[in-house]
Subunit: 328 residues, 2 copies
Amino acid sequence: MAIRLGILGYGNLGKGVEVAVKDASDMELVAVFTRRDPSSVSILTAGVPVLNVKDIASWKDKIDVLILCGGSATDLPTMTPEYAKLFNVVDSFDTHARIPEHFANVDAAAKEAGTIGVISCGWDPGMFSIARCYANAILPDGKDYTFWGKGVSQGHSDAVRRIAGVKNAKQYTIPVEEALEAVRSGKNPELTTRQKHTRECFVVLEEGADAAKVEKEIKEMPNYFADYDTTVHFISEEEFNANHSGLAHGGFVFRSGKTGVNKEHNHIIEYSLKLDSNPEFTTSVLVCVARAAYRMHKEGMSGCKTILDIAPSYFSNTSAEDLRAHLL
Amino acid sequence: MAIRLGILGYGNLGKGVEVAVKDASDMELVAVFTRRDPSSVSILTAGVPVLNVKDIASWKDKIDVLILCGGSATDLPTMTPEYAKLFNVVDSFDTHARIPEHFANVDAAAKEAGTIGVISCGWDPGMFSIARCYANAILPDGKDYTFWGKGVSQGHSDAVRRIAGVKNAKQYTIPVEEALEAVRSGKNPELTTRQKHTRECFVVLEEGADAAKVEKEIKEMPNYFADYDTTVHFISEEEFNANHSGLAHGGFVFRSGKTGVNKEHNHIIEYSLKLDSNPEFTTSVLVCVARAAYRMHKEGMSGCKTILDIAPSYFSNTSAEDLRAHLL
């Protein structure tokens, strides 16, 4: 029998999960839940009901894993513990600093209910965390580097859009090529924030807005831009819609470490992603983690887990025998 | 109490394990076993006994994990099942085609003894297998590419050394830069063996040997060289010793896959290693896997495992809490 998945929240992430499930022959989507009026939400998959989230409890025995497609700022901190009382759940909570607190809340709820809750899945936190964990363990005497981009930062784009006079904006985070090369060549550089990434903004102004003032306000914005070299381009709405509607992203995780009697040997481990669609890659990870959550629950486990607690083979729809014979 | 490690076999791998253990604050090396006369083997670590392997059974309760540093061709197929009867064991068995058979033998022995045997750990099989497993699961609609090098192939170097007239030789496997770039850019090329790697040989001739004959014999050697573009350099013994005594290696694992309603988004996952010392990196992995084997055994598991069955956090000497707070 296929693993029965539910989706809660039908934005970019919810849609991504729906699409990713189609490539998973061992899974089927059985319901989509929304906080909106269900009749206003039209999904891609024929025959799958769209329901209001208030009716979700009656699906307790009809869903194996519920994928929570809410935001980290306000939705997931309450949503994940709440639905872990009813379902095995998976989320993409990405506020790094609040992970311990979120873990504790989900762990308490999931242990009491006998469910599995896997938090903070995606690529960072997620696949990048996995890369850091393995590489730190293997090369304990070393240095970590994480670079993001080239890609769209939603948070920085939002920050620019909040400036008076800005009609629309997109912000790209770009790793500095020289810094990447210095790390890759084993030089173990000390890099400032400014030396690691640059920021590039494409801005559509409201009519009559003062471009110079907007540019100054962007470049001097604390936390978001002040510590970076930022380039601002003012473009037309047509150009914006034609060239800047994508959600590409990616990045690089490096570990540079030494081994040997006299630490004479250097090693570089590099993990990188180049993604045309940040939400679709994230949801492709979420669907694999849902498979893992189902298996862990079947084995009698419960409580909160992270992607670091899951063996690679649990991600896969291929049998252990086939993995050993063909992939190992 | 520290995890007590034993080493069986004191060649390049055994020495690498000994060095790697020094960086693991949760482990201690308690004994080295050899098939040679122990008095002929001098190790780096003061106070650790070197013993003949015939005395190993008396160490049954004094060692938590025994790392088997034998060869895949003749040692490990019998060694790993044999010692799994007494100890938790870890090996680096790398004959891909024979993994299912080796797994079955180790599994039977380890299950009967209530021990854990982790086979085929290192980087390929090993970390590259992990990269392939995750990436295949996340992007089921895609294509895999593995490149090796630039690095020393022991098997190919040995093959050249067996040719009459060759005094010493080293063979480097080199990935073709254009092929790497084509994969990295998402072109999903179909690549022949010749298009993926070139081979470069540095050869010291015996006095009076016929260079042209040796070169022809190398380039036409079936399986090893005939399908590749091979360059042969004849050099002096001095130059060989000065510039070609290292054991550097590395490689690249790519997954290029598509997502989206109309498969309109491409994603590239790349995992790469650049290693100054192939054996020392391999043993750094073995030591992490020994930590994982110890934990799995403590949790009551037994039988044969591979690196695909081990969660990333089991590799790490950092607590789950600290991993979540600082690394996830």
